[in-house]
């Protein structure tokens, strides 16, 4: 069973999530027939795992919320927004370096994969992302009580080949078999499509923490056919934060004569404060920023929504161009618009989208979670499908044209953008000199006429061509873009019928040997570790629920239970105490599930008592403490509410 679970992961710039679609494990719910799609919470009960990796005092890796404190106190021991560096070279990120405190290794060559400093060593971006993925994998394993090995991971639709490859590498380093990379906006459409089986044209506007995508899809009887996609892989909420940060820094310099850039920890506090203000301004007309500065000074400022909108308007405008281009590629109006990504909570963004598409956009699903939910739907499809997904099929496209460099440095396009993937093209090559035994091919991605303006994907050397007069060899090279949007190249010399040897030098990427080594480096007895860790975690959970139960017995609610209910609880409690004595975490988790089910009514009664008459008559869901994945331990939760 264990190998059959496929999780869906949204590996975001700011936050990451893991989700699953299937019949829930017995420990959380026994009465729900059919398949649910849900976010798997972390140990802290939170859905969002900040995409933040840090080292603690003993050089242990911290991921997510636990890493926050490190970022605020010793920012040089933390890395955030690493997604911006995925699949990029040193010359690509020069602009970013002015705004992000990435500390690059000092010895980087052009077209080499980047490395960033953290603690005493350097890491490639896929290795940092792998830490985030590993945390999500752990969260899922903790939730299921079993190892998880396969995943679907989402990527921005406008990611190029190198960025996709880097994401896939990160998955492998984290010990996950990546069954599919799915484009984020497309994943979102799957999540929306699950309960609205409709036909029509839908635009998905996905404005996240670091990337912007627009995808336009045709929905027909369960087929999700992407017609066009466009975007900007370096445009997101991060950029809004940077504008606010720059304004505040200037303010501080003017009013208080402090150059905040000299104090990295204060910069991080200020960043946290402007982000909080940005989020507040989506719901309030004004927000306050208050930050403690060095020398005992304070920075205080009030910002109105109007002023905020004025500042961020140029950033929002940058999303319009890609939308217009995608609409032009499709050549028709859309029936519906869906908003995805945290930045779409900004009222200005919603207004602009509504103006552009002349449609009131859909916001029913949480814009932070919808991509992960969609990834879980795709994972369910790949795992063999279910009643809910059996008619669903995703037909995605390649976002960028694929070309090869021809004589004179021009690009010869061989697969156009917005082609449904998998897609392929075959090209003939020959030699220019008598006796020539190798031919170099430069593969490019992009829409520009000149090769130098496109993205270099890789350089191939066709070797072992039999010596012949110039122009006589016929080498057939096949370029194939797979369903992940990743390029594969194969070659054959036609006259000899021999498969030609290809030597690939990926630009900005890791070689497969490097990835293998990273997998080995990170392996460190992962399986044995996992079992031990799951055992510890499940025992901790058991202790939590048992101590909650002890309090429950003393509460007024206990007396309201029937004697049968009390007896069942007693039996389940006993079973759990026995299980804790054993060494099998899945037995413990099952026993926790049993006790959870048995105490559901008790938890409800305790809540009613605690919340008083104000909430009486409302259902559990509206209290936010519904049973199920959000709150695997109703009794534990009730304690805190």
């Amino acid at each position: 069973m264990a190998n059959e679970r496929v999780i869906g992961i949204d590996l975001g710039t700011t936050n990451s999530l893991v989700a699953y679609m299937g019949t829930e494990p017995a420990m959380t719910r026994t009465d729900a027939p059919g398949n649910d799609v849900f976010i798997i919470p972390g140990e802290d009960g939170e859905h969002l795992v900040p995409s933040l990796v840090a080292l603690d005092g003993e050089d242990h890796v911290l991921v997510g919320n636990p890493a926050r404190q490190v970022l605020l106190t010793t920012p040089d021991r933390a890395i955030y927004s690493v997604k911006r560096l995925m699949g990029r070279g040193v010359e690509d990120v020069r602009e970013e370096l002015k705004l992000f405190p990435f500390r690059l290794a000092d010895d980087l060559a052009p077209e080499e994969v980047l490395r960033v400093k953290l603690g005493g060593r350097t890491y490639t971006p896929p290795e940092i992302s792998a830490q985030i993925l590993r945390q999500l994998k752990r969260n899922a394993e903790r939730f299921f009580g079993e190892p998880v090995k396969q995943a679907v991971i989402t990527v921005p639709a406008y990611f190029n080949d190198a960025q996709r490859q880097a994401t896939k590498d990160a998955g492998r380093i984290a010990g996950l078999e990546v069954l599919r990379l799915v484009n984020e906006p497309t994943a979102a459409s799957l999540a929306y499509g699950l309960d609205k089986k409709k036909n029509g044209t839908v635009a998905v506007y996905d404005f996240g923490g670091g990337t912007f995508d627009i995808s336009i899809l045709k929905l027909k009887d369960g087929i999700f056919e992407v017609m066009a996609t466009n975007g900007d892989t370096h445009l997101g909420g991060d950029d809004i934060d940077n504008v606010l940060l720059a304004v505040a820094a200037k303010d501080i310099e003017g009013d208080l004569q402090i150059d905040i850039r000299q104090y990295p920890d204060a910069v991080q506090r200020l960043r946290a404060a402007v982000i909080e203000a940005k989020m507040a301004l989506s719901f309030h007309e004004s927000a306050r920023i208050e930050v403690e500065l060095p020398e005992g000074k304070m920075y205080r400022r009030e910002i109105t929504r109007e002023a905020f909108e004025h500042l961020v308007q140029p950033i929002v405008e940058r999303t319009i161009g890609p939308c217009v281009r995608a609409l032009k590629d499709v050549g028709r109006q859309v029936d519906e618009v869906v908003l995805v990504g945290g930045s779409t909570r900004i009222p200005l963004v919603r207004r602009r989208v509504e103006e552009l598409f002349r449609r009131k956009p859909h916001t029913e699903l949480n814009p932070d979670e919808v991509v992960a939910l969609g990834a879980a739907v795709q994972a369910n499809i790949l795992a063999g499908g279910s009643e809910e997904t059996k008619d669903m099929l995703l037909l995605d496209v390649t976002p960028l044209s694929l070309g090869i460099e021809a004589l004179g440095g021009v690009t010869a396009m061989i697969i156009n953008r917005n082609s449904t993937i998998p897609a392929s093209a075959t090209e003939q090559f020959t030699t220019g000199v008598d006796g020539q035994t190798s031919v170099a091919i430069h593969v490019l991605q992009g829409e520009r006429e000149m090769a130098k303006d496109c993205r270099s994907l890789a350089r191939f050397d066709l070797k072992g061509i039999p010596p012949m007069p110039a122009g006589l060899p016929r080498i057939e090279v096949r370029f194939l873009i797979d369903a992940n949007g990743i390029l594969h190249v194969s070659a054959r010399e036609q006259r000899s019928g021999k498969a030609a040897e290809i030597e690939v030098q990926p630009s900005y990427g890791l070689t497969s040997e490097q990835v293998e080594k990273m997998i080995m480096d990170s392996y460190d007895n992962a399986e044995a570790d996992l079992r031990a860790r799951l055992l510890v975690e499940s025992r901790n959970e058991a202790e939590t629920i048992l101590s909650a139960l002890a309090k429950g017995r003393k509460s007024e609610a206990w007396g309201k239970l029937t004697s049968v209910e009390q007896w069942v609880i007693g039996r389940q409690e006993q079973a759990l105490r026995l299980a804790i004595g054993g060494e099998d975490s899945s037995v413990i988790m099952r026993a926790i599930g049993g006790l959870n089910d048995a105490t559901k009514h008790l938890a409800e009664l305790m809540m009613e008592t605690a919340l008083g008459s104000a909430l009486r008559g409302k259902n559990m869901e509206s209290t936010g403490i519904e049973e199920g994945p959000e709150a695997p331990h109703p009794i534990g939760k009730a304690e805190f509410n």
Binding site: L179, I223, A383, L395, G408
Partner: protein, 209 residues
């Protein structure tokens, strides 16, 4: 005849074989095809060939599904668009398109030579005037009067381009009825069309710069 895509017994994907795009769909080499039926068939085959359905199959079946579904997508992409369908058929019939064709452009690029431009006779005058306008624009920028002239040329060329589609449809009809002389007409339309499109692209570039 349609290429065999599945095992008759188990319905699983079969290895890809070299096939032309018409045969892939089991279609005759005719140009006036039912685009709605083509789309339906594309969806039916997608539901059987797509790699999503084989993600847990053997490596061999995964590879076959990847090959087959790329063939399917390539074939559908080529056939659903009337122009690329016509270009494909003409090439399949062994006719090289003239200088303006995409292939010719790429061949010229690969060989590193400047591409010849043969101007369709009825466009000579307009093309000449347009080139003057374009040079003027490149030299001194686009003022209001120049913009107006370019926009009006753009409109008249677009009308011509749309007119070509009717001519093409007529050539299709002849071809589909077995008139082999329709080939020449199709090639002629395609060449004029790509010439017109090049002109329109140049206007577009100047106007949007």
């Amino acid at each position: 005849m349609r290429a065999s895509h599945f095992c008759a017994g188990c319905g699983h994907v079969q290895p890809a074989e070299p096939t032309d795009y018409f045969s892939f769909f089991g279609l005759p080499r005719k140009l006036a095809l039912d685009e709605v039926a083509l789309e339906r068939e594309f969806y039916v085959l997608s539901r059987k060939l797509h790699p999503d359905l084989y993600s847990r199959a053997s490596e061999r079946e995964q590879a076959w599904s990847l090959e087959k579904s790329s063939q399917l997508n390539d074939a559908y992409r080529t056939l659903r668009d009337p122009i690329s369908r016509t270009e494909y058929l003409v090439e399949l019939e062994g006719i090289e398109l003239e200088e303006q064709s995409k292939t010719a452009t790429e061949h010229a690029r690969a060989a590193g030579v400047e591409k010849k431009q043969s101007v369709p006779p009825e466009l000579l005058e307009e093309a000449f005037e347009l080139n003057m306008l374009l040079e003027e624009a490149k030299a001194g920028g686009v003022d209001d009067s120049l913009r107006e002239q370019l926009v009006s040329t753009q409109e008249s060329l677009t009308t011509r381009l749309n007119g070509l589609h009717d001519e093409l449809r007529e050539a299709w009809r002849q071809w589909d009825e077995g008139g082999s002389e329709a080939r020449a007409a199709m090639v002629d339309v395609l060449n004029r069309r790509s010439y017109l499109r090049n002109l329109l692209r140049e206007i577009d570039e100047v106007l949007s710069s």
